[in-house]
Amino acid sequence: MINQAFAVAGPFTWLFDPLSHEFMRRALLVSALVGAVCGLLSCYMTLKGWALMGDAVSHAVMPGVVVAYALGIPFSIGAFVFGVGSVALIGFVKQKSRVKEDTVIGLVFTGFFALGLVLVSKIKSNIDLMHILFGSPLGISNADLMQTFIISVIVVVFLLIYRRDLMLYCFDPTHARSIGINTTFLHYLLLSVLSLAAVAGLQTVGIILVVAMLITPGATAYLLTDRFDRMTTLAIMSSVISSIIGVYISYWSDIETGGSIVLVQTIIFLLAFLFAPRYGILNSQKSIP
């Protein structure tokens, strides 16, 4: 039976066959979309050195998701509130105490995450913990798809409008201020967008792996170019490609989707790490003599 299908559709069955399923089309769509959004944002995260912040925000949205489900409101609203709340709390604790920033970040996000776990077990609802933690693009509901779409549009619009200002803010905040740019606004804009992107990313790879979506594509692109614009293009491309390949692998070999997407991303990073024209370790050694 299966052999027959292969024979009919030719060598591209592996590519087109999954597309006949509604759930696969949706999974590919949402994964590619989230990949693009997170890929774009990842450039700013890696250049700003906010990997840990990304990890923090993505974990801190957990209780928000649970509370939102319990209250029957869109999960993204709850997630956003807790994401931004965690950031505000990190800022507050850092300012008011002598504890170092990375310690505060680690402390706050694990606290939030723990709260989320406790809430899940306490609030008896139909939330599937595994879906939150590991994502489930193959089983995404219409409502979630819609939310992810809206979030993505918001994030992309803001990142596109402020792309130059945000780049300048990451590169040289002092200069940004000295030409009258409101850096406080940019700071909170970037954090808000980060919270939103974490919520979107949670749909495809889940809370635990979202941070990979938010840094790996940027890190990969960073190894490949010296130009910021090219870096964003490359990051988006590698991120979208990873998402699509990841979903296919997940479909054909029946493995967990979030894991497979992130694993593809990591492999692409490793390839860049080894073979990048200027900064790959295999090439940079050549130029030493």
Partner: protein
């Protein structure tokens, strides 16, 4: 060409006006009662020992440290307002930037134009011209495509000066622009500053090279946690004042760089 100069063209308006500025870092006083008034079209040298508060003064003028007392006007406006009008360009002593950031020299200088562009920061022809001229001025045109991290220290310094030039501000605050640049560039920069002064701009420069002050500064400010003396170079830049500024060091500094410690 210089829109921002039109504002406050009348020389009666002070370009920089600082009244009794006090700055402390967590209770540690770095600057007290520092007052300064600079007219349009002058080069002013800011001279003092390490730790005298020169950089702090610059940061206070830019609103980066909040003075505990005193107020500052630039072109008769608040600092924030002046910054939004692109009236003031600032080059810090240390840029403190991430040198592996993926931007070229051209991109960096273009950042000087952002404030004059629309929200999307899309360069117009005039912006590109300004960047080109600025790079030409500091002789970095050939290196414009280089990533900023692949410049030498002095070249990087020139790139950031070019950014300030591209901004076309009427007030330039330059914190030790001469440190780490070669003699040729030093001369080039001095000529540039004199030209800017003739165009009616005001330039405040901190420097440790006292010959600069004599050579091209119209005014001089001697500071050590406060303004010790301030006025025309010929009147204020005396050996007694310099001795006072450098805490009793003999003024033979004036006749050249200190060669050994035996002058102590």
């Amino acid at each position: 060409m210089i829109d921002s100069l039109r504002k406050g063209k009348a020389t009666e308006i002070s370009r920089i006006q600082a009244n009794q500025i006090c700055v402390d870092y967590n209770g540690l006083v770095a600057l007290y009662d520092a007052s300064l008034e600079l007219p349009g079209g002058c080069i002013c040298g800011l001279v003092g020992m390490n730790g005298a508060g020169k950089s702090t003064f610059f940061k206070a003028l830019m609103g980066f440290v909040r003075p505990s007392r005193g107020n500052i006007l630039i072109n008769g406006q608040s600092v924030k307002h002046a910054q939004r009008d692109q009236a003031v360009a600032y080059v810090p002593q240390n840029e403190g930037i991430d040198c592996s950031f993926p931007v070229s020299v051209w991109d960096v200088v273009m950042m000087g134009r952002y404030g004059s562009m629309d929200i999307f920061r899309i360069p117009r022809e005039s912006d590109r011209k300004a960047v080109w001229h600025a790079l030409e001025r500091v002789e970095l045109l050939d290196l414009r495509r280089r990533p900023i991290g692949e410049l030498s220290g002095g070249q990087r310094k020139r790139a950031f000066l070019a950014r300030a030039i591209a901004q076309r501000a009427s007030v330039l605050l330059l914190d030790e622009p001469f440190s780490g640049v070669d003699v040729r560039t030093e001369k080039l920069m001095a000529e540039l500053f004199i030209q800017f002064r003739n165009e009616g701009r005001t330039i405040l420069i901190s420097t440790h090279d006292l010959s600069h002050v004599r050579d091209f500064c119209d005014l001089v400010v001697l500071i050590n946690k406060t303004v010790l003396a301030y006025g025309e170079t010929s009147k204020v830049f005396t050996s007694e004042n310099i001795t006072m500024t450098f805490g009793g060091m003999p003024p033979n500094l004036l006749s050249g760089p200190i060669t050994s410690e035996d002058s102590l």
